[in-house]
Each structure stands twice: as structure tokens, then as C-alpha cells.
């Protein structure tokens, strides 16, 4: 070591260098989270139980009583993409607890005194959450094949689902981090997370079509990001299934909302060290 100080990357690197630094730092955070998961993958296995219960218990019961109109497809075929998206929501919406833990421990200080931009830090954490979301997607796909839901395994369809899952995970994880930045205690964070989960889940097209909802609930469903996630995933996973909007619209909404939330959280995140 020498006493030579290291300055921030000089502006002479240009836009390319600036952009590279952003992506490299974002990736560093993702890599770090993956290392943590490798040390303790038990959470991922535990998380496989819930979608299995939804498909096996809820799905089988509602299939047998035929109360939900699902057109030419079985109810399980309608439900499987919804449960995939629900698992993504449930695993991401409490992601902010990691930020709260980092604040309690003091780790957040170290991130915030580093020269990494706040957008890289928040973006990296959001993308890390999608590693968990992707593991959920794989579990639901395996269950779907086992339950004769016949999900599409065409590479482009699967790729589309994976991209949607990454976007959805980033979106809900960032929403969760925003709540974590605003509340003071883990108890309140969990309370708010719990409060948000049910409306997000039930006011969406995850387990029944929007068309059977009462009129007052429909606008809520259309304002709910989960609806757009389900709407993108359903026709990709079960080809021929109907959707409310073209895929392009669904992806544009998911991307736009995620970006907006990341920018908002990158303003709020520094509060964690104050």
C-alpha cells in the first residue's frame, strides 16, 4: 500500500466509462447477494412450499367446483401463471427487511460512504431480489409440468416469463425498500408489508379474471402493477390464454414503474444512514 489517494473515476473516462462503472457496481451488489444465498439457501427451499400449497390445495378445490370462468382452459392452467406472479410478489414485498437489518447492524453506512451512485446501489439490490424471484419461477414451472398444466417450454416464451419475473421482482422489491426507508422499526415495516400484500394480490387477475370483479374494484386492479405482471406472464406460459393488453404494454408499464420506483428510492435510501 502507498499513501497515494484514489480519486473518483475521472470525468475523462467519458460517458462509456461512467456507464460501465454504474453497471459494474450494480453487478457487484448482485454478485454479493448471490454469495449470501449460497451460504444459506434454506430460505429458497422454504419458499417453495407456499406456491405448492396454492396449486395443490386451492387450485384443485376450485378446479373441481367450476365457479371461475376460464374459457377453453382448465382453472389450474389459468391459476398457475397467477401463482407464479404471486410468489414473486410475496418474496419481493418483504425484501426491504434486508435494508432494515443492514441499518440496524450498520452495514448501510459502508454502502453509503462508498463512491457508488445511489442508483447503482438501489438497482443492484432490486436486481438481487430477482434472483429469489427467478428461483420461485422455476419451482412453479416444475409444479406446473407435474400437475399437467402444460406450460409452454418454447425458449422465447420461457425467456419472456423470466424477463417479466425479473422486472416484477425489481418492482416489488424496490417498493419494499421504499417502505423500509420510511419506517423506523421492523415491526411497522412488517405490518405495512402485510397490509399491502392482500390488496395487491386479490385486486389483480392472479386467481380470477378482472371481468368477474365488482365494478368498484376494477379500477384498483388496473392500477395494480401485479395485474400487468400476470397479464404478461399468462399468455407466455399458457399460449392461447387471453390477456387484457398487448405484451408490449405490459412490459412498458412494468419497466416504467420499476424505473420510477428505483429513482425514488435512490433519493430516500441515504436517509437510512442519517
Amino acid at each position: 500500500m502507498t499513501a497515494e489517494p484514489v480519486r473518483a473515476p475521472a470525468p475523462s473516462l467519458g460517458f462509456g466509462g461512467w456507464l460501465y462503472a454504474h453497471f459494474d457496481r450494480t453487478y457487484a451488489i448482485v454478485d454479493y447477494e448471490v454469495r449470501k444465498l449460497r451460504h444459506d439457501p434454506s430460505e429458497l427451499l422454504l419458499r417453495a412450499v407456499q406456491p405448492a400449497l396454492w396449486l395443490l390445495v386451492f387450485g384443485e378445490v376450485f378446479s373441481s367446483i367450476h365457479v371461475i370462468p376460464t374459457g377453453n382452459f382448465t382453472y389450474l392452467q389459468f391459476l398457475a401463471p397467477g401463482i407464479l406472479c404471486q410468489s414473486v410478489l410475496f418474496i419481493a414485498i418483504f425484501y426491504g427487511i434486508a435494508s432494515i437489518r443492514e441499518r440496524e447492524l450498520g452495514i448501510v453506512y459502508r454502502f453509503l460512504v462508498s463512491p457508488a451512485s445511489r442508483v447503482s446501489l438501489v438497482g443492484g439490490k432490486a436486481l438481487s431480489a430477482s434472483v429469489r424471484g427467478l428461483s420461485q419461477a422455476i419451482i412453479v414451472y416444475v409444479l406446473a409440468v407435474a400437475l399437467a398444466v402444460h406450460p409452454s417450454l418454447a425458449p422465447l416464451d420461457v425467456l419472456g416469463v423470466l424477463v417479466a419475473v425479473v422486472l416484477g421482482s425489481c418492482l416489488f422489491a424496490t417498493l419494499s425498500m421504499i417502505i423500509a426507508s420510511l419506517v423506523k422499526t421492523p415491526e411497522r415495516f412488517l405490518g405495512i408489508g402485510q397490509l399491502m400484500t392482500m390488496p395487491l394480490f386479490f385486486a389483480s387477475s392472479a386467481i380470477y379474471p378482472i371481468s368477474i370483479m365488482p365494478a368498484w374494484l376494477r379500477p384498483v386492479a388496473y392500477a395494480n402493477p401485479l395485474t400487468y405482471l400476470v397479464d404478461a406472464v399468462r399468455p407466455l406460459m399458457i399460449p392461447g390464454e387471453t390477456s387484457l393488453f398487448p405484451l408490449g404494454v405490459d412490459f412498458a408499464v412494468l419497466f416504467g414503474v420499476t424505473l420510477g420506483l428505483i429513482l425514488l428510492e435512490s433519493r430516500l435510501y441515504p436517509r437510512m444512514a442519517q
Partner: protein, 265 residues
């Protein structure tokens, strides 16, 4: 050039003024101690200088950069060890260092070498691959120092670096700080409650009381300014802060200090 220079920096929280128009400077390679009772504003001061907390008024230059206008450049030139434990217990010492080597954009070719050097300097080579949750208190603090030094900062901010450490671990950390100054001429700004620490490590000291510097000078100077000629630093401290029963420090501060102490046990 000074390593650090502040001009009347002030921070208020609602109606409370935590740091009140504080001006001081730290030379290159100097160890500067901020001594003060609980709630004196020590942590607030360090947080402002390390860009974590916006200034209410005043200005500060750290490593030649303005903390308000060029925070990213300040961050690239400083190391910071907070009072709370900032190393991640869920991964190994190596992984902790690895992620920060990348956040600080240490060139790919040098990362491995730098991480090895940092571990070696702090005497942690043997435990690089061990999860931090299995480290002892002294090892955690030394890893945090290694993390703060990885990018070869010009200035190191240490907020109560030895709180909760046993005397042997404390002595080791002191030794590392002394070596750091001697070998790399890194300027160090540290806050402390411990008179022994201030006396042994610091070239100059500021005594902060209710957000104001009430006395500044070398430990010897401060002692000589107390009325009793045989005064210890502790006597001098009591003389300058008025010897009143402490009223500062919130429940939250106390909880934090104790939690850090317990976790380092």
C-alpha cells in the same frame, strides 16, 4: 494542504443544534481526536464530514473536495468505520472485501493483491475465508479497518473505534492505527470517550461539548491548561466540560453503543 478543513459547519435537528459552527483542520498524516461526553455531537460531526448527513450551514473540504458540491469525490478519498458494526456477518471477510473492492472500482488486475495486502496488514490472512459471524470482536474491528483502507484513502474517520473491545483487542487496534499513520501517512479523525486512547494516539484533540469545540490542542497542552499542574487528561476534560453530570445522549445512542459492545463481546 490540509487533509480536512471545516468552516463553521452546523447541523440542526428540529430545534436542537447538534453541531454548532465548528471550524477546525487536520493536517496530512495527523491523528486528530474528537473527545466529548455522550450527545456532544461527535457522531453528527463525523457523519457530515463523510457525506452521510447534509450540512445545515457552513462548508467543509475533505481531501481537497467540497463535501456539499463533490460528495462522490470525497467518498472516493475517505475511509469510514462507524460506531455500529459495518462488516456483514453473513459472508466471509474475503467476500466483504471483494464487494467493496468493486464498489470502489479498484482495477480488476489489482483487486486480489490489494485484498491480500489489506488482510495481511490487519493480521487476518488466516481467517479470510471464515464467515464474519464467527469472528471475535477485535477481528471484526480489524476487518472493518481493512475495508476502510482497501482503496487507500487519504483520511480515515473512526467513530469510537474501540468501544466494547477488551483491553488486548483494544491495544491491537491502537497499534494498527499507529502503524497506519507511520507507514502510509493516512490522516485519522477519531471520536472517543476513552482518555487513554486520546492520550496515546492523538497528535491533537478537540473537546466537543454541546456541539461546540470548547478546547483544542495536543494532549500535553490541554493538560497544562487545567488548573492543577499534575492534571491528567481526564482532569483536563472535566475542567473544560464543566464537570457537570451528563445530560446528553438519547435512549437511541445508549442502545446503539451497548448493542455494538454486546455484539463485539
Amino acid at each position: 494542504m490540509f487533509a480536512l478543513e471545516t468552516h463553521e459547519i452546523t447541523r440542526t435537528f428540529g430545534r436542537v443544534t447538534a453541531v454548532d459552527a465548528v471550524s477546525f483542520h487536520v493536517g496530512e498524516g495527523e491523528v486528530y481526536g474528537v473527545l466529548g461526553p455522550n450527545g456532544a455531537g461527535k457522531t453528527t460531526l463525523i457523519k457530515m464530514l463523510s457525506t452521510l448527513l447534509p450540512l445545515t450551514s457552513g462548508s467543509a473540504q475533505v481531501a481537497g473536495w467540497d463535501v456539499v458540491r463533490e460528495p462522490a469525490r470525497v467518498r472516493a478519498s475517505i475511509g469510514y468505520v462507524p460506531q455500529l458494526i459495518s462488516a456483514d456477518p453473513q459472508v466471509s471477510g474475503n467476500d466483504n472485501l471483494w464487494v467493496f473492492a468493486r464498489l470502489y472500482q479498484i482495477p480488476r488486475a489489482e483487486r486480489r493483491q490489494r485484498i491480500r495486502e489489506a488482510l495481511e496488514f490487519m493480521g487476518l490472512t488466516e481467517v479470510g475465508d471464515v464467515l464474519v459471524r464467527n469472528y471475535s470482536g477485535g477481528m471484526i474491528r480489524r476487518l472493518e479497518l481493512a475495508l476502510a483502507l482497501l482503496h487507500r484513502p487519504k483520511i480515515l474517520f473512526l467513530d469510537e473505534p474501540t468501544v466494547g473491545l477488551d483491553p488486548i483487542a483494544r491495544d491491537t487496534v491502537w497499534g494498527q492505527i499507529e502503524r497506519l499513520r507511520k507507514e502510509y501517512r493516512t490522516a485519522v479523525v477519531l471520536t472517543t470517550h476513552y482518555m487513554e486512547e486520546a492520550d496515546r494516539l492523538c497528535d491533537r484533540l478537540a473537546i466537543l461539548h454541546h456541539g461546540v469545540i470548547v478546547a483544542e490542542g495536543s494532549p500535553t497542552e490541554l493538560k497544562s491548561r487545567a488548573p492543577d499542574p499534575s492534571a491528567t487528561l481526564e482532569d483536563a476534560f472535566v475542567h473544560f466540560v464543566g464537570g457537570s453530570i451528563e445530560t446528553g445522549g438519547s435512549y437511541r445512542d445508549t442502545q446503539r453503543t451497548r448493542r455494538t459492545a454486546i455484539r463485539l463481546e
